[in-house]
């Protein structure tokens, strides 16, 4: 990687991504390896995110390291007005790696500039969440046997959804074809579409969520349509039930189709889908553990 910190998926080359995924696979075979013995990780969660924090902390514990940190900024000095820089420098005196989540965008990049120890970005506002992208890609490769030449359909909030934007960047090395399905107000932004054009990535946009598109798809990536994203609540009421996946919509789908979701879901995947073997979102979260073990080894430059 260009830096020893993992701040954003754009910094990862195709080689970097494949190396991390290969290592994640080794951790899936055996998650308990005491290669972080004597090391301390600090998990600084300026914004609560129990799922991500537990996943990272479990990963570091399974590697034999110790974890310190906080899960809510109200219990840290930032509530007394301490700058992020001071907090990061202080923690750098104690820990070997910092895993941080922050409500402000760019916080992880700034942290990586002020300290010499590696920073792992566990989400900075609406900006980046690279470990999510890598675990999505791990799940895609595991279920499809490859990352190359896949058709990926993204559904829901494509405007504000950082996971879909990052997944486009991560997958751009592997010749994907995308279908973007979203209500008019939440369409994929121009910037991401330009990115696709620049990288010769095929994409089509749709407003209707139809079985016709599902049937051409290898990976169906569902996201949440959030009420607070709409300026026009009438529009929200109109579309809120349009982008819901029901089990019967999967009848004609490919055998290899898998359904992913960054979670938490609200109602965009009906519960009758859960028992379908093509539902993969719960296993996807489990893959996060292995991927994060691999990311920790990557930034600390530890051989597996």
């Amino acid at each position: 990687m260009k830096s020893k910190s993992l701040v954003s998926i754009d910094q990862c080359s195709q080689e970097d991504i494949l190396r991390i995924l290969d290592n994640a696979q080794k951790f899936e075979e055996n998650p308990n390896r005491k290669i972080m013995d004597g090391k301390v990780a600090a998990t600084l969660f300026f914004e609560p995110s129990t799922r991500t924090r537990l996943s990272f902390e479990t990963a570091f514990n399974r590697l034999g390291g110790k974890v310190v940190g906080f899960s809510d900024a109200s219990t840290s000095s930032s509530s007394k007005g301490e700058t992020l820089k001071d907090t990061i420098l202080m923690v750098s005196n104690y820990a070997d790696v910092i895993i941080m989540r922050h409500y402000l965008e760019g916080a992880a990049r700034y942290a990586s500039e002020v300290t010499d120890i590696p920073i792992i970005n566990a989400g900075d506002g609406a900006n980046q969440h690279p470990s999510q992208t890598l675990l999505d890609m791990y799940s895609i490769r595991k279920t499809q046997g490859t990352l190359e030449n896949l058709t990926i359909t993204m559904v829901g909030d494509l405007k504000y959804g950082r996971t879909v934007h990052s997944l486009i960047v991560g997958m751009s090395h592997f010749n994907p074809t995308f279908h973007f399905i979203a209500p008019e107000e939440l369409r994929m932004p121009e910037e991401q579409k330009h990115f696709c054009e620049k990288h010769n990535i095929k994409y089509t946009e749709h407003c209707d969520f139809t079985t016709d598109i599902i049937n051409q798809t290898d990976i169906l990536y569902m996201t949440r349509v959030q009420r607070e994203r709409f300026t026009d609540l009438v529009e929200y009421e109109r579309v809120k039930n349009v982008y819901i996946l029901h089990n019967e919509m999967l009848k004609g789908s490919r055998d290899n189709l898998r359904i992913l979701h960054p979670l938490p879901r609200v109602n965009e995947i009906a519960y009758d889908v859960d028992d379908n073997p093509k539902a993969y979102y719960i296993q996807q979260a489990r893959n996060g553990l292995f991927t994060r073990e691999a990311i920790i080894c990557e930034v600390l430059n530890v051989e597996i």
């Binding site: 700058t83 402000l104 965008e105 760019g106 916080a107 990049r109 700034y110 506002g125 910037e191």
Partner: protein, 154 residues
């Protein structure tokens, strides 16, 4: 004395220094502030709304005894990209320079994303120029792209 010289003398003759010409009138005082003129002890002449064949109306700043470094003067490229720098020695223009937008803008532009770390922490903003043709820039921290017309100078 040439007609051109006489015309310049109407403002103030510079023995040695820099005359910044062709400043858009609306940007004149922003340019003055970006260059930190208020902190200089040099003799400075500021003129505005002079007639210009090229642009109709223009502003001019003359600073005695001052020769700018590249990175110092390129700060104004964002708001006044077409200015001409006349380097004057012994009453003669010895060099005419144009300015270029630098690849990176440090501490110059305010990020227009209120949730960007640069608006919430005592630190310098940093932007990369992503498209020289359109003047679009991108915040290095929150990664938001800002189009030229939305750029806010600090």
């Amino acid at each position: 004395m040439s007609a051109q010289k006489q015309k310049e003398l109407q403002v103030a003759a510079l023995e040695n220094g820099t005359a910044i010409d062709h400043i858009p009138p609306s940007q004149l005082f922003k340019v003055a502030s970006l260059l930190g003129l208020e902190k200089m002890d040099n003799t400075i002449t500021i003129g505005n709304n002079f007639h210009s064949k090229k642009m109709g109306c223009k502003g001019v700043i003359k600073i005695a005894g001052k020769f700018f470094e590249e990175d110092e003067i390129n700060r104004i490229a964002l708001i006044a990209p077409n200015v001409i720098l006349n380097i004057i020695r012994d009453y003669e223009v010895v060099e005419k320079k144009t300015i270029t937008l630098p690849d990176e803008l440090i501490g110059l532009v305010k990020c227009n994303n209120p949730k960007c770390i640069t608006n919430n922490e005592p630190m310098l903003s940093r932007f990369d120029v992503v498209d020289r043709a359109t003047g679009a820039i991108r915040c290095r921290y929150c990664e938001r792209k800002i189009n030229k017309e939305d750029i806010v100078i600090k």
